[in-house]
């Protein structure tokens, strides 16, 4: 089916390489966008087109993180939790998304709209916390902006289904001055993030060291125990 529906695109991809096998990643992206995720049949189809042993293609699919071997939501939300994102609000963002969507990492919402993933490094550390929605970058996503973001993405669900999850038609988004999500004018010079100047704050209270047997055998509990 892939070959019949996308013959021209497949031929164009194959013509770029000395060896057909080199086209495995672009063809897997094509299959993923066609079927929504990489079914076993789709992987075997790609193997047949490239005349590769299917096990080799399964191996490739398993190695790279941007291929999905099970159904994912219309929008795959990938939140970067790496240094420096984790120190600039990524954990708070992930907690807000989990709470708002009612799912944990690697799960998909009941309506099939969102899949949530933690990912390692999106190379946009200057705009942390950052996430990608089907490989569209969305910058400076603080927990307060989560509701607006999800509403915006829901409104663009039909567009997302048409474009697929592999980012073959990706764009970038950022927050406008009025708090709305706007598409970046890619001709505009890039603007580094500006933090509001704040007076130096007092150092935080030292965190209490966890009690050796916290929650298990507290003196207070023992007092209240009928034993």
């Amino acid at each position: 089916m892939l070959l019949e529906t996308h013959r021209d695109e497949i031929e164009a991809i194959l013509s770029r390489y000395h060896s057909p096998r080199s086209a495995v990643l672009p063809l897997l992206y094509l299959a993923q966008d066609t079927y929504g995720y990489l079914t076993e049949t789709a992987i075997r189809e790609v193997a047949a087109i490239l005349n590769m042993p299917p096990t080799d293609v399964f191996e490739v699919v398993g190695f790279y993180t941007l291929f999905y071997k099970r159904p994912v939501g219309t929008w795959v939300l990938q939140v970067c939790d790496d240094v420096p994102c984790c120190y600039l609000g990524a954990e708070e963002l992930i907690a807000a998304l989990k709470q708002r969507l009612g799912i944990v990492e690697e799960q998909t919402t009941g309506d099939g709209m969102f899949t949530l993933q933690r990912v390692k490094c999106l190379a946009a550390c200057d705009r942390a916390p950052v996430l990608q929605a089907n490989l569209d970058y969305v910058y400076d996503v603080t927990p307060e902006r989560v509701n607006a973001l999800l509403a915006n993405l829901r409104a663009r669900a039909a567009e997302a289904r048409q474009r697929g999850v592999s980012g073959r038609f990706a764009e970038d988004f950022e927050w406008g001055p009025d708090g709305a999500l706007i598409r970046i004018d890619r001709a505009a010079p890039y603007r580094p993030r500006q933090f509001p100047a704040a007076p130096p704050s007092a150092p935080p209270e030292p965190e209490p060291v966890p009690e050796a047997d916290a929650g298990h055998d507290q003196l207070a509990d023992r007092k209240g125990s009928p034993l």
Binding site: R16, H18, S19, R21, S22, A23, L25, P26, Y29, M52, D56, E59, V60, F63, Y64, T65, L66, F67, D81, D82, V83, P84, C85, Y87, L88, K120, C121, L122, A123, C125, D126, A128, L135, D136, Y137, S166, G167, R168, F169, A170, E171, D172, R186, A187, P189, Y190, R191, P192, R193, F195, A197, A198, P199, P200, S201, P203, V209, P210, A212, D213
Partner: protein
């Protein structure tokens, strides 16, 4: 220190510079046209060699010398542009492409001409989908104008440039793993030698250069070696696009001549704008995740390859992460090594197992606040077993954060040990004894 003219981010103040015609009106593609008509490939290689341009991807190897390694008379040759940037703190490549894709394409085309290659691939990190599309559009414009394709400008030179998107694997930024991935295999590094210049993509001579490196080439050819060398330092000529992130007021990419002091990058109102909330600097990671850490004592170190090396670290990719005193060293090491564990390709045992155990022990210390006294020697033991024994630099890099944390902030690890001294589960295995830290049967 200010630049009168940017090299990598040239003409950034011109509106729509990412448009082909605008770029051309501002002198774009002139170096390429002149080189094709007036210079031999050998002359371009000589210029790049004399300019002292060093690879910006991390290793800092002189680019012209690398090009000179190609065996004479062996064709076809390939040029690969490495845009698989994916290390915490490193984020300039896709912004170079977003801002000025034509400069990169001109750099790729010029370099391909210099090394007598007719097919070049730009290997892009899979997540950079938008940048890949920007680049595809820009390449299409260059084909339409006759700067790419067959018999370019009537000189008989042929060149095709293709964008190839990876699919999410940091290791594919390692040059031999990149070639494996481009050949349709999983991205695991190859044994060197043979080096790519001798036997690379499809077994043919191959040159692999980083985006930022290639973006320098048009300016070197256009303005000459002397002009280029008037920037930066004697051993590190030119400029570097420093990616500044972390607890600074203005994180972002700043193109500066080599030799700018770290303090100026962090504190100058034009660049970093100082620390957020005025809090003190605690940890500076000056060259990407794999660079040994520096502290506030190193704020006056000039940012060039030699000075940063003399301070005990490395400039690497120029990704400067600055963290304030609210972070805990074991936690930073844990997050960094979690990245390396996630990205280890699994080919060699020291890296695959070492990163796993580093993260397992560090998770207990940094996230749960529990440590047995044996944990610290164990961490030393793991990194000593990894250092020098991994197949490629990823495993070697994973050693740096934990080594830095244990060397610079040992008291923070000891504090966790002290706090968990009377904890019945201090070793994290729930058996009530300080048994072996790495059990023979691991619970996964």
């Amino acid at each position: 220190m200010d630049l009168s003219e940017h090299i990598i981010m040239r003409e950034l103040d011109v509106p729509d510079i990412n448009d082909f015609e605008v770029y051309r009106r501002h002198g774009g593609w002139e170096a390429y046209r002149m080189a094709l008509k007036e210079k031999t490939p050998a002359e371009i290689v000589a210029m790049v060699k004399e300019s002292g341009l060093r690879g910006r991807g991390g290793a800092g190897f002189p680019t012209g010398i690398k090009w000179g390694f190609l065996p004479k008379g062996v064709y076809p040759r390939y040029l690969l542009c490495n845009c698989d940037e994916s290390e915490p703190g490193t984020f300039n490549n896709h912004q170079i492409i977003d801002r000025n894709p034509h400069q990169l394409i001109e750099g790729v085309a010029l370099s391909a001409y210099a090394i007598e290659c007719h097919t070049a691939y730009i290997y892009m990190r899979g997540e950079f989908a938008a940048a890949a599309i920007t680049l595809e559009r820009a390449i299409a414009a260059a084909y339409r104008a006759g700067f790419l394709g067959r018999n370019i400008l009537g000189t008989g030179f042929d060149l095709d440039i293709y964008v190839h998107r990876g699919a999410g694997a940091y290791i594919c930024g390692e040059e031999t793993a990149l070639m494996e991935s481009l050949e349709g295999k999983i991205g695991q590094p190859r044994l060197k030698p043979p080096f790519p210049a001798v036997a690379g993509l499809y077994g043919k001579p191959t040159i692999i250069n980083n985006v930022e490196t290639l973006a320098n080439v048009p300016r070197i050819v256009e303005k000459g070696v002397a002009w280029y060398r008037s920037h930066g330092t004697e051993k590190s000529p030119g400029t570097k696009c420093f990616s500044l992130s972390g607890h600074v007021n203005r994180p972002g990419n700043y193109e500066l001549p080599f030799g700018v002091p770290l303090r100026e990058l962090i504190e100058s109102p034009e660049y970093g704008g100082g620390m957020r909330g005025g809090r003190p600097v605690k940890i500076i990671i000056p060259g990407g995740a794999s660079a040994p850490w520096l502290t506030h004592e190193h704020l006056d170190v000039p940012l060039d390859y030699e000075s940063v090396a003399a301070a005990g670290s490395m400039l690497g990719s120029g990704a400067v992460i600055v963290l304030n005193d609210t972070v805990k060293a074991p936690h930073v090491a844990y997050k960094m090594d979690e990245f390396f564990k996630h990205e280890s390709c699994g080919k060699c045992t020291p890296c695959r197992e070492g990163t796993h155990w580093l993260v397992r022990v560090l998770h207990r210390i940094a996230e749960e606040g529990r440590a047995a006294p044996e944990d610290i020697p164990t961490l030393h033991s793991i990194y000593n077993q990894m250092a020098g024994n991994c197949f490629c630099l990823l495993g070697e890099s994973a050693v740096m954060p934990i080594k830095s944390a244990l060397t610079l902030f040992p008291e923070e690890f000891e504090a966790v040990v002290a706090a968990s001294r009377h904890h019945p589960h201090g070793n994290g295995h729930g058996d009530g004894r300080h048994g072996p830290v790495i059990p023979l049967t691991a619970k996964r």
